[in-house]
Symmetry: C2
Subunit: 199 residues, 2 copies
Amino acid sequence: MAVFPPTLDRLVQILSRLPGIGRKSATRIALKLMSSSKADCAELARAIVEAREKTLKCSQCGALTEVDPCRICTDPRRDRSVVCVVERPSDVIAFERTSRFRGRYHVLGGLLSPLDGIGPEDLRITSLAKRACTPEVQEIILALNPTAEGEATSLYIAKLLSDSSVRVSKLASGIPVGGDLDLADDLTLGTALEERREL
Amino acid sequence: MAVFPPTLDRLVQILSRLPGIGRKSATRIALKLMSSSKADCAELARAIVEAREKTLKCSQCGALTEVDPCRICTDPRRDRSVVCVVERPSDVIAFERTSRFRGRYHVLGGLLSPLDGIGPEDLRITSLAKRACTPEVQEIILALNPTAEGEATSLYIAKLLSDSSVRVSKLASGIPVGGDLDLADDLTLGTALEERREL
């Protein structure tokens, strides 16, 4: 027997499609919304539609923005000689939070994954190659996750750019700052040892 | 520096108000929505507004419904002599899932909590007393959480109804089915022992 009114049941179903939201959390959220004011519900609904309508991908770097090109691409204070290549728009946000990178970004929109049928043509790799060839760009930093797909994608891009004069680097691997040697896996510890730096 | 476009930032803020959703989950959900189709976003927005518009509280039992009185209150197959008193609409759903209760419900909408300023007049207690006085009702089952507030509310209602001819019962306390004696807390184990049943 369906225990929920039909519209509520539908809301729970749609909410459970969101990442990290199971049936139980969806029910909890839906019931909370039912006890909120109609104005609050309308506000949430409007915020969803509005954000989706206004947010687009920057035609230059692929990051989420409301103006095209995005504020980072057009910011005259940013270093135009360095481009940081990331997988997703959320990675741009992660780097911006650090305030340690003053160059520009290039969002691939995914990683190479032959098993899932994702090839170079499905990612923003052609436009990256074009950007790398402009004289102002001197370094490409590959900042992809250190997973099998991430490493394969990094290698693919490095090979693609090997003929150009641009410098290609990738993020350091090692022990996380504040981390514990005891808890580091063998691969990470091994890499940290191999790529040790002189003090 | 704000790293998100303003409308997206607003969406994250509003999503973080939902129960169980922190800033990180809200960001994840918002980014997922940005990569979903506009139609999907509109569907979610519509589902929220529609559920909130159509869902109301049953004037008899206080459960969430689209028709008033709700389907449970008007179902002729339900036992009209037993009323199960619960705190929230979600508790009705929990009982319905068990398929073990064939009576009707009464949702209080909260528990007595003098510290939070919640008194009897803030809950649906007067209407419960009225229902308890109708001749068809013979038993009131108090199914409130076994917390301090739940027990206090149960006692208050039991006292309120002590002059009427209605029988007042409450849920059994004890070891959860499939539970482990080792893991039960002292209070639960003690209660289970005290309220043991003959086989």
